[in-house]
Symmetry: D2
Subunit: 148 residues, 4 copies
């Protein structure tokens, strides 16, 4: 069901290597739990320090993992030497983000030479329940020579 | 030049009290440095742990302080007992976010009974230079009985 | 596979009656070609007067039918007496919109008492080919007493 | 107060020539009423056929003139031979669009080699009153060799 083809055969290693340099994701405790051409998932386990004023995950946390998942979904298709930068995005917060775990799913909708458009969705898990907490659209820029 | 009137006379105390409950902003090191009716600024000093893969502030950091500044700009106009939730936003990242300090300026564009529309802009400072790193539009929901 | 339930049994008639009052859609030549709870499609046949400077459908045309399809997808779930207003949306134009026909598919993602979040996608058809020309996210407001 | 410099000395003629090829804007009755480097205004006089179901200007009309004004604001800075395409935008509808006239003001926020970010605001006029009906953010692409 893979719709897209990665230009670099070592795309998984490249995604993990670049992601490993995002100190902010390390601070949040986000981990990559799925990589395929045009697809990246990031999983985040609840911890202290990620909340907004009502005790839900802060919109900034939800957004950060959605943005990173979408960015690496785009990056997974890029050639060696290319980097990725977020140009813009829009996100709708559909439900309060509460639970023991968040998973952000970044998926490429339209790859391009210059711009790659992605969707990013975030789900919250508590026991057996799954809640769709956010959906967004992201424009990613391929930045030649800017790898990692 | 204040265009808007705050419904609660103690709006500054309410903003600071609610903001103090955002553990995520505490983790990032964001501080409120300006409050007026419909206006909130958040200042963040550079520190380790806030970076993306090229060493710039992560888009999630820029976005988080823009979202919080916009949310509290809306909240500053609300009545006692009301809370604020972000419904959605869109942000354009105009320049790489690098420097010793970021300032997010949240400003109400259109207050409403139910929805309040805000602008959020983020500037990066290095020595004497100021760079406009992001601009966004935010829809905030007034949530009755959900204070803080 | 209908995920949602319409509050009004005559939801199809209500959608068509309200849509019939949109003189702008009549000017464009848009027609509703699918209605289900939370789902509306609008089809537009190419004609003179809908182009931008390169001869493609103008982004405003693509956007208008996406917005109307999304709005009526939300409206299809509302109760008698309720009207619908667009609060905001974001749209990515994925490919040049050219062909003999456009179809906009509005789908409710998250219904709500006050706000209903929808996706809107537009496809262009030429002979046997289908191209995904736009995808967007829409926030629709339920306006009590504002039917149609 | 012009912040930007136009690459082509005949930028006004180029904007008007390209705008004249937008048959959709002619159908709507939009006219360019201001051009400066990075700035374009479009004015639209009320007429039958532009309404949504409550008799206000359709969101698609408001959006179309905002998009065109933003696109030509970007185009005004481009060099000879370059065309402009809208990549994406987001718009908030702040107030019902009613009145005898709409004016869309497109302004460049950040010019770029590849992407130019613009703001677009729409105002409605009735007798002596001015109402801010919409504000949006637009990403425009410079398309080499695609003039007009």
């Amino acid at each position: 069901m893979a719709q897209f083809e990665a230009r670099a055969s070592n795309f998984k290693e490249r995604v993990l290597a670049s992601f490993g340099k995002q100190s902010f994701l390390e601070m949040l405790g986000g981990e990559i739990t799925h990589i395929a051409p045009g697809e990246v998932d990031i999983t985040l386990t609840a911890r202290d320090g990620l909340q907004q004023q009502h005790g839900f995950f802060h919109a900034g946390v939800t957004t950060t993992i959605a943005d990173s998942a979408a960015g690496y979904a785009a990056f997974s298709l890029f050639g060696v030497g290319d980097g990725v930068l977020t140009s813009e995005f829009k996100i709708n917060l559909l439900n309060p983000a509460q639970g023991s775990k968040l998973v952000a799913k970044g998926r490429v909708l339209k790859p391009g030479k210059m711009l790659t458009i992605c969707r990013g969705d975030v789900y919250a898990y508590q026991d057996d329940s799954e809640i769709h907490v956010a959906t967004g659209l992201f424009t990613m820029v391929r930045a030649e020579g800017l790898e990692p």
